[in-house]
């Protein structure tokens, strides 16, 4: 007897275990688990070596840092890596487990054994999942090793004590449910549809939904219930983690010491995801059961025709002769065509298309409709901005789709066992592959076409700002995107030719995508290697890609060139005839290899040459080594000597600038008079010239002098060139009060050469417009040492501690020179351009295609700028807005706000000293606005392309104009001092001014909305560990910006409420009056001191300042025991409100008729709360309240306002 057979023998568990173990043993021979392990381990290594931790903790050396091995950090990293990488691998492993049996015809044998359908699916599911989990367990060990023992900087502060649970807990409640959910879902889909491509649907949806929506979409106006629902539906747990713990920074000490607490609802959703996975597996068992047993349609036997039982006559005699036919070599085109047609037919019948296609459309529509700009207001889309904002998503989706379907197409004949018939046919390989690849590229084109229709609908729904431009879509989604798809399809074909195994192709291709993602994320991808063009399309509606067009064009040429190379290689090795192992050796012989390489090398030559050319161009460009070295040399040679040296005053500047936008160049000829306003003689006058400018001649008091690089310490007068810092020495040192005239001629181009990677430009001379400022020295020499040039992470210094009392001495200006200047500028540019400078325009002369305009400052200025382009003017009562003809939507509101700002700020703060106030739009190659005296510049993304805000929300157009025009007062008329807190007087006051203006123009509700936005921004980006008070903040640490802008703006508003508007404004006028002309420039302490003089209750004022200005209080409120009782016709609401944050405050508590509507019907009471303190309240309402909320009129800056509500029971 060979063996025994007993149908009841062996347990189900035993059978399952046997099958699972056999899969686990096989798994180590497949690349999937090993590649996953390698990718995860390398990623962990990269994160540890790069020191990535959650964004918290102190940046300075004395503060507490977030530990690398805290549970929070490990959970954060696990979510990041696992939710981006693991789902693809789990889905391949589980999704193809049952279908692989079918393909191998092994399922028939298994189903003939006592194995039940449930046992079978359990075995196959866990057989697929377990190797992945084992690979992840192995990675966890590597992670522990790296996080606990890898040498890092400052290990005592960056690493806490080892805790095994810190590694295990996140894996259990975050990773495992995700793995079960994805695995179960993919298993079900894969078995149901037998479509490998569909197996990727779930991870792709998770990836896109997460990256582009669930993880990041959190505008201030999003309601809390929706926010919580979004946390629940995110299988990765990322949103829950960030919304619950990370968005509002709780400080390094919290994150380091506290284990993550799961709330019940979230815990339930994690279990639900895991259970879903199991349910999907058992649902798969039903599918298997039906397939094994078959199904019988409900028809009567008698109704069926009896053809099967009809007798068949015996064949007699020979058959007819074969029909006439000819055979020849099928042509390339004929083969391509027939394969293309069939592949398109199969693609159209593939259910995956109907999942991925709508998903792509959804993403395009979603990113088009819901693209928030400043203050969470939606951007007003144009054809270019829709195409560009969807470019990355579309690329990623189409790349994934191309991968799935190209591999499926390429392996179709093998899977259907028709490979040998097809391979033995005379059809050319090139035709067969071309047909398949083309079908997939065409599918991409169709999806792009559908996306175009969706984009058109978006633009029409939104209301057309500019006409719909199909050519722009064609450029971005066609000319730029198509080569990526062609390259990727070619590469996948090449991989399939080499690997001859579709699962191996999937794994390696996904590995390449993940690797590319990491390289891109960490900035290692330049123009030459940016094959995917991810983030390569920086669209400006005015510039229209002209900034980087050369790099883009060559990059696309490389993509197409490499496509040809991969196609040539794929054709060479495509497995039409299986190679003999000995012939492989023969093929590797040098001579044969050389012969075989000739065609691929010829194919690879053009892209290689282009890549080399690009590398040379990037090296010679603005980010290249020589340019960086030059900047470093400037810093190295001059920072110690000249950074804090006394600077001469620029008394007068006369400059003649010629702009040549078509060649991105400019030339200038100027004369500057500088004087020594210090009390000591100046040995030398320093002028800095930026690296993109070349000075062709210098004169010193009329004498032409050639600069020398090494000064002999004797020759005078002389000019010494210290790597871009020119030292002018007169025959004798410049005495106090003495002056000198320096003339120069220079030329240059801006931007200078190629960048290494896609990057914007804040100043430029381009065919689309020009932006130049004296601030950066982009068109003239700068007096003194230029800060920031040649500074990077390696030589960045901690800011100097000036001590608490430094403000009592004379303080230098925060930006630029201490003294104002009279400026005369003559600018020549294209005749059809409007070019604006500071001051008032004088004579204008047109000479053919060139126009020259003279500008003279009507009041001294510290900064000056040039901005221009083909612009229209819209005049207000006392202001003008210059804008592109394409962007008229918001201009009327901008003019109105600018007029109002000029009027009200002049009344409130100080009379406006300049005649004109202009606001000029420039191409959005960088998104910012700057307020030069009388000449404000706005990039197109600021205000010009913004949708109308919701009725109840602050209007961003009004806000940005109000903020930027406030800088005419806070930054120009009053220049803050150069010290901690200085910039608060510029940015914080501008935000305060904007709140004032919006309150005046648009009412309380909009102002409250604006303050809530400040508060939300502050709560989400502050760093409580190292938060500094308004008088100490200097912009050098993470979290400083929001303190300066948002906390500053809100606190100044609170100060106004505390002091009363009249007293506050009087104080501000007094303050500006005292400090506007220097030479001592004010910081926050000066401000507080001056305003104190205007306070009615100085004690209250001092308490306020101690808490909010020189302190860092941040109250946070919670309700407890809120209940309501109906008495007669009234409702009596009682409860307790607690301050779980810091600060003593008077707080309004309101009972609201409608939830979330503090401006609706309500009753309010006020309580006093100290830190940690609580106060009972009673509210009597004539209506039935639904909710209690704190601070309905947005009077107190706080953390967690949205959560400080309670339902009234």
């Amino acid at each position: 007897m060979i063996g025994t057979h007993n149908a009841n023998a062996g347990s189900g568990v035993g059978r399952i275990a046997a099958l699972v173990l056999s899969e686990v043993r096989l798994a180590w021979k497949r690349p999937l688990a090993i590649v996953l392990f390698l990718i995860m381990s390398l990623s962990s290594f990269g994160l540890v070596a790069g020191g990535l931790t959650i964004s918290t903790g102190s940046a300075d050396t004395s503060g507490m840092k977030a530990w690398l091995n805290s549970e929070f950090n490990i959970a954060f990293v696990d979510i990041l890596l696992l939710s981006l990488i693991m789902p693809f691998f789990v889905s391949v492993a589980c999704g193809t487990a049952a279908t692989a049996d079918e393909e191998r015809k092994f399922d028939r044998i298994l189903h003939a054994t006592p194995l039940s359908a449930v046992e079978y699916v359990a075995a196959r599911f866990f057989g697929g999942l377990l190797p992945v989990l084992l690979a992840l367990a192995a990675w966890k060990l590597v992670q522990v090793g790296l996080y606990e023992w890898y040498p890092i900087a400052d290990p005592e502060k960056s690493r806490g004590p080892f805790s095994l649970m810190a590694y295990l807990r996140p894996a259990l409640y975050l990773s495992l449910p995700l793995a079960l959910f994805m695995g179960g879902g993919a298993f079900f889909l894969g078995t149901l549809t037998r479509q490998a491509a569909l197996v990727f649907a779930l991870p792709t949806i998770l990836f896109l939904l997460g990256v582009f929506f669930l993880w990041s979409f959190s505008p201030e106006w999003l309601s809390e219930p929706v926010n919580i629902a979004m946390q629940w539906v995110d299988p990765s747990g990322f949103r829950w983690m960030s919304e619950t713990y990370l968005n509002e920074d709780r400080g390094a000490s919290y994150y380091n010491a506290t284990p993550i607490q799961l709330d019940v609802a979230f815990g339930v959703t994690r279990m639900a995801f895991a259970i879903f996975g199991f349910v999907a597996v058992f649902a798969t068992a039903a599918i298997i059961q039906r397939r094994v047993r078959g199904s019988s349609p409900a028809v009567r036997l008698g109704a069926l025709p009896r053809t099967a039982t009809t007798p068949v006559p015996a064949p007699i005699g020979g058959g007819a002769p074969l029909p006439a036919m000819t055979q020849g070599e099928p042509g390339l085109l004929a083969t391509t065509w027939v394969v293309l047609r069939k592949e398109i037919r199969w693609l159209l019948r593939s259910p995956g298309i109907y999942i991925f296609g709508p998903l792509i459309l959804l993403q395009v529509v979603g990113s088009g409709l819901m693209r928030p700009g400043p203050l969470d207001t939606l951007i007003l889309q144009t054809s270019g901005s829709v195409a560009a904002s969807s470019f990355n998503t579309l690329t990623l989706l189409l790349v994934l789709l191309t991968l799935y379907y190209t591999v499926e197409s390429l392996s179709r004949e093998e899977r259907r066992n028709i490979g040998r018939i097809v391979s033995s046919s005379a059809a050319p390989t090139a035709g067969m592959l071309a047909g398949k690849v083309l079908a997939n590229v065409l599918m991409g084109a169709v999806i792009v076409g559908a996306a175009f229709v969706a984009a058109v609908i978006i633009l029409l729904v939104q209301g057309l700002v500019t006409p719909i431009e199909p050519a722009v879509f064609l450029l971005i989604w066609g000319v730029i995107l198509a080569p990526t798809l062609i390259l990727w399809a070619s590469f996948v074909t090449f991989l399939q030719a080499v690997l001859r195994n579709r699962y191996a192709t999937y794994v390696i291709a996904l590995g390449v995508l993940i690797f590319t993602g990491f390289m891109t994320q960490f900035g290692y991808i330049n123009w030459a290697s940016r094959w995917h063009m991810w983030s390569g399309v920086l669209w400006s509606d005015l510039d229209r890609l002209s900034l980087h067009w050369e790099a883009i064009a060559w990059n696309r040429a490389v993509a197409l060139g490499l496509s040809v190379t991969f196609i040539v290689l794929a054709l060479r090795i495509w497995p039409r005839r299986s190679w003999d192992i000995r012939s492989v050796g023969d093929r590797m012989r040098p001579a044969r290899l050389l012969r075989a390489s000739i065609v691929p090398v010829i194919a690879a030559l053009p892209p290689a040459v282009i890549i080399i050319g690009m590398l040379v161009a990037m090296r010679a460009g603005r980010d290249g080594g020589p340019s960086e070295r030059e900047a470093k040399d400037y810093w190295r040679q001059n920072s110690a000597t000249w950074e804090d040296a006394p600077v001469p005053a620029l008394e007068k500047l006369v400059i003649d600038i010629d702009l040549q936008p078509t060649t991105r160049s400019l030339s200038a000829k100027g004369e500057m008079t500088v004087s020594n306003r210090s009390d000591r003689p100046m040995e030398a006058i320093p002028l800095s010239v930026r690296e993109h400018l070349t000075v062709t001649s210098w004169t010193l008091d009329g004498e032409a002098i050639t600069p020398v690089e090494v000064w002999d310490r004797v020759t005078r007068p002389s000019i010494e060139d210290r790597s871009g810092l020119f030292l002018f020495r007169k025959a004798d040192p410049l005495p106090p009060g003495g002056s000198v005239t320096i003339a120069f001629e220079l030329s240059g181009s801006l931007p200078f050469g190629w960048s290494k990677a896609p990057s914007g430009a804040s100043e430029f001379v381009l065919a689309s417009g020009v932006v130049l400022t004296s601030f950066s020295g982009s068109f003239l020499p700068v007096v003194g040492f230029a800060e920031g040039v040649g500074v990077d992470e390696k030589n960045q210094r901690e800011t100097r501690d000036l001590g608490a009392e430094y403000w009592r001495e004379r303080v230098d200006p925060l930006f630029g020179p201490a003294w104002s200047t009279d400026v005369t500028m003559t600018v020549t540019g294209p005749a059809d351009w409007t070019i604006n400078c500071i001051g008032v325009p004088g004579e204008e002369r047109v000479d053919g295609a060139r126009k020259t305009t003279h500008w003279t400052s009507d009041h001294p200025v510290r900064f000056f700028n040039i901005v221009g382009g083909p612009l229209l003017a819209r005049k207000g009562e006392s202001t003008v807005v210059y804008h592109s003809e394409r962007h008229q939507a918001n201009v009327e509101r901008m003019v109105k706000t600018l007029d109002a700002a000029r009027q009200h700020y002049s009344e409130w703060f100080h009379p406006y000293p300049w005649r004109d106030l202009k606001l000029t739009e420039f191409p959005g190659l960088a998104t910012y606005a700057q307020g030069f005296p009388g000449n404000i510049t706005f990039s197109e993304g600021i205000g010009f392309l913004t949708q109308d805000a919701d009725e109840s929300e602050a209007d961003v157009v009004t806000f940005v104009v109000a903020h930027e025009s406030a800088h005419q007062w806070w930054g120009n008329i009053l220049m803050p001092g150069r010290g901690p807190g200085g910039n608060v007087l510029s940015e914080g006051m501008a935000n305060f001014s904007a709140a004032m203006l919006i309150d005046r123009l648009e009412g309380e509700a909009k102002r409250e909305s604006l303050l809530r936005k400040y508060e939300d921004q502050y709560a989400n980006t502050r760093r409580p560990d190292n938060e500094r008070s308004l008088n100490r903040v200097d912009g050098s640490r993470p979290g400083d910006t929001t303190v300066m802008y948002d906390r500053g703006g809100f606190v100044f508003w609170m100060m106004k409420e505390m002091m009363g508007e009249e007293r506050m404004l009087a104080g501000l006028r007094d303050f500006i009056g005292r400090f506007k002309d220097g030479p001592d420039f004010p910081v926050v302490e000066d401000f507080v001191a001056v305003l104190r003089n205007h306070a009615e209750d100085t004690e209250r004022y001092d308490r306020f300042v101690a808490q909010w200005v020189t302190g860092t209080v941040a109250p946070q409120f919670e309700f407890e025991n809120v209940s309501s009782e109906k008495r007669d016709n009234e409702y009596v609401v009682t409860g307790t409100v607690k301050n779980v944050g810091t600060g003593s405050v008077e707080l309004d508590v309101a009972a609201l008729l409608e939830k979330g509507k503090p401006d609706g019907e309500r009753v309010v009471t006020t309580v006093h709360l100290d830190p940690g303190g609580s106060a009972a309240f009673t509210l009597v309402a004539t209506f039935n309240p639904s909710e209690v909320a704190v601070d309905p009129d947005v009077k107190v800056l706080q953390i967690g306002r949205k959560r400080a509500v309670a339902e009234v029971k």
Partner: protein
């Protein structure tokens, strides 16, 4: 090449064909064969190397060594020579299940570069009629029975009137009627071209092939005709009935001169045994019976390569030519 030399080199010439798979496993160990027009049977047990030989000839597998010439042209160096003249029906194959029989055939006609005077669709219909699939040509291939699929396979194989037709285990899975229909068609095809029929069913070869080769363990053991093969063992085949013990005794007493060729169970308890007795008398109870091709094949299978009688190993060229011509 001159007309006369072309005439001389017509047919398929296989010389010193070796194929070693990674392992290493030798699938072919220096096979030499010359095959001219007509049906040529390739016999051998499973794993003998038949399919490897077929696949090499069909230009799907690159040999480790050796040459394969078709009408004087080397198909190892240039597989396209074979691909434009080949009809191939593999042992195990499939089709795109969602295409109709006609669409599937049309697709393959295009890939093979085959066309008819009235176009491909018409040609596909004629070919389907030829294999008796007209009624099913609009049905999806996924719903075809094994026999229908096999016939569709044959239709694509004969498309283009190929110079070489390779059919690998073609009758597996066919019912008797289909099988006979298939025989007839194959026999007709063999009149004008090289038809290489690989099988381990001796009856197929006996029915169809005027020439055959026997291959075992990658070695060519016999290259002969059915008649000469039978003649080579004529008078050496005996049949008798024994019980299990008797069969065991016969098997254990086998020698170089007496071998058990086959034992067929009769009525569950008696064995009908065929013996090959090269010299001397048969055991008691055994009577001489006419030799069949299967006996010849089994003699080759049961005999070490170096002991196979020369007459069985190689047919007389003259006689073989005469037989083939007849």
């Amino acid at each position: 090449m001159s007309e006369s030399s072309r005439e001389l080199s017509r047919g398929l010439s296989i010389r010193g064909l070796v194929k070693i798979y990674p392992g290493p496993v030798a699938a072919l160990r220096g096979v030499d064969l010359s095959i001219s027009d007509g049906l040529f049977g390739l016999l051998g047990p499973n794993g003998a190397g038949k399919s490897t030989l077929m696949n090499v000839v069909a230009s799907l597998i690159e040999p480790t060594a050796g040459t394969v010439l078709l009408d004087g042209q080397d198909i190892v160096k240039d597989p396209r020579v074979m691909r434009t003249r080949l009809g191939y029906l593999p042992q195990d194959f499939g089709f795109h299940p969602d295409l109709t029989g006609r669409a599937m055939l049309e697709l393959l006609l295009t890939l093979k570069g085959v066309n008819g005077p009235k176009g491909r669709r018409s040609l596909a219909e004629e070919l389907l009629e030829r294999v008796n699939l007209t009624s099913a040509m609009k049905r999806k291939v996924g719903g075809y029975s094994g026999g229908m699929r096999q016939r569709l396979g044959l239709a694509q194989a004969i498309a283009g009137d190929p110079r070489v037709l390779i059919v690998d285990e073609p009758t597996a899975g066919l019912d008797p009627e289909e099988r006979h229909r298939f025989y007839r068609l194959i026999a007709e095809m063999g009149a004008k071209r090289i038809v290489l029929l690989s099988t381990h069913i001796v009856e197929d070869v006996a029915t169809l092939c005027p020439r055959l080769a026997v291959i075992r363990g990658g070695e060519l053991l016999a290259d002969t005709t059915p008649r000469q093969a039978r003649a080579a063992i004529d008078g050496q085949i005996f049949e008798g009935y024994v019980d299990d013990a008797g069969l065991a005794a016969l098997a254990s007493g086998a020698s170089t001169t007496t071998r058990v060729l086959a034992a067929v169970l009769v009525e569950g308890h008696t064995n009908r045994v065929r013996l090959h007795v090269r010299d001397g008398a048969p055991p008691p109870g055994f009577a001489e019976v006419p030799a069949t091709l299967e006996d010849a094949y089994l003699v080759v299978m049961r005999t070490p390569a170096d002991e196979i009688p020369a007459r069985l190993r190689k047919a007389s060229a003259d006689v073989a030519a005469a037989e083939v011509a007849a």
